[in-house]
Subunit: 278 residues, 2 copies
Amino acid sequence: MRQIAVYGKGGIGKSMISSHISFAFANSGLRVLHLGCDPKHDSTRLLLAGRIPHAILDILRKVDFETRKVALEDVVLESTLNDTVPGQLFCAESGGPEPGAGCAGKGVTEAIRTLAKLDAHNKLELDAILYDVLGDVVCGGFTMPIKRGHAKEIYIVTSGEMQSLFAACNISKAVARFAQRSGVRLGGIVGNLRNMENEREVLERFAARLGTQIIGFVPYSEKIKAASGRGETLFQYAPDSPECEAMQQLADNIYNNKLMTIPEPMSFDELHHWWQAN
Amino acid sequence: MRQIAVYGKGGIGKSMISSHISFAFANSGLRVLHLGCDPKHDSTRLLLAGRIPHAILDILRKVDFETRKVALEDVVLESTLNDTVPGQLFCAESGGPEPGAGCAGKGVTEAIRTLAKLDAHNKLELDAILYDVLGDVVCGGFTMPIKRGHAKEIYIVTSGEMQSLFAACNISKAVARFAQRSGVRLGGIVGNLRNMENEREVLERFAARLGTQIIGFVPYSEKIKAASGRGETLFQYAPDSPECEAMQQLADNIYNNKLMTIPEPMSFDELHHWWQAN
Ligand SMILES: Nc1ncnc2c1ncn2[C@@H]1O[C@H](COP(=O)(O)OP(=O)(O)O)[C@@H](O)[C@H]1O
Ligand SMILES: Nc1ncnc2c1ncn2[C@@H]1O[C@H](COP(=O)(O)OP(=O)(O)O)[C@@H](O)[C@H]1O
Ligand code: SF4
Ligand SMILES: [Mg+2]
Ligand SMILES: [Mg+2]
């Protein structure tokens, strides 16, 4: 089973990109679970026709965390796109506590625990699980996919902007930290472009400096905004567009990826100097 | 003593804006401590001529957390701008652990604890303390200024973009949650503009919907980027510019602010609907 996690700074485009990857995998015949690991619990929105599902943490709270009162179909939904793909596309959201009410990553911890208890991987006969994880802080439940090896391949979404490169460095540090223990590796950088000057070049050099690759570029596109506004992926909204082709290419590159590395991360100072040199 | 915290989504402009406020306060005669509460520990950079100081957490680690081995001058630096102001401007940075090595907010907890043990507020005869706090997650050490009432007035930096409004909602929720217990209040929204359509209007309505005010607007400005690039505030780089005037106005508005409220936050769903209606 492919165990993939997509990380990146909040707002950088993780959910948009990861939901396209999940769709493309199911469209090539795989049985895929897409698990949103962001307190916003909106990662699966484009796979549920714009609907935002209940979060596992909220479902658990309603039963006082007695997992035996929860059924698999309470926490995992079939995508509304299921009839359109040869594979299977399942959706779940971890959720998170109210701000100020405990560790923001608690939803991720509980969701992973609950899916394990419900034996989801076997019951759903999964070929792939894709975690979409908040990457602004790499701690608490947000490290679980990396630290415990629930994800074996990490892909980091970033633009050429300093703030998202800094988050990418932090995520890489966590991967390097746990690589030996959990078998996790960095699979590549997804360059989600923001129309900066020389952005592709900057991102290529950044990936090289980290000891990884660009696994794909996604152009900045009004079509992407429009499709998201309608609760659709590009595969529904604009299947013949170049942006949709870029998404298919990205998914194929991930599907066929053999370059899994232990990153060589930069400290904040080194990133600062690297940035100014580039 | 004024106890102020500036929160907002990572990268939204908290450190740039808060360091200008700290300077303006010292420039009007106050004795100010500016405490950076972001693992990046670069909040005081513009007050230290571009230098990034040691973080309190790193200093504590070197002495195995035996606070008695730490002196006040190890953790608090005088700003390089001190000779240019009638008041006093002190700088400190909390820092944070390595990614994946524990709670990202731990630096904030330890810094606040250490400054209390060293009796910083009295030793430095402070008139004001300004916390610059990461607001992507409102948990762990990042809630301390709100939860424990170390800050009594919260100002939230946001643009008109959905992602930063969402963070502003989360921060407001935490303020509402602890308002009774700790006496913390929302002092206002700082609109850090990104040249979006109708952005000022959207922000005015957002502030009204939360039950607060816009405490000031900051224009998007290449001068701000240039000054930051040189490790300077606008007060050094372009003191006669309209953007510097906007900063002075913002600092004055905060200084004179009497409107402290308990916010009425929106859920994620409500924000989504509000956003689409606006
Ligand atoms: N390449 C792009 N072109 C246009 N809009 C984009 C692009 N990538 C992301 N977006 C938009 O940016 C917003 C944030 O994306 P999202 O995937 O929700 O971020 P995250 O999950 O990282 O918080 C969404 O409205 C999305 O449609
Ligand atoms: N109004 C603005 N105009 C131009 N650049 C800005 C503005 N506000 C912030 N910036 C720039 O954006 C970057 C991020 O700002 P910073 O204060 O470090 O964010 P935060 O502390 O919230 O992470 C800095 O390079 C800063 O100079
Ligand atoms: S571990 Fe991370 S997510 Fe959990 S409380 Fe600490 S900062 Fe928040
Ligand atoms: Mg998301
Ligand atoms: Mg900052």
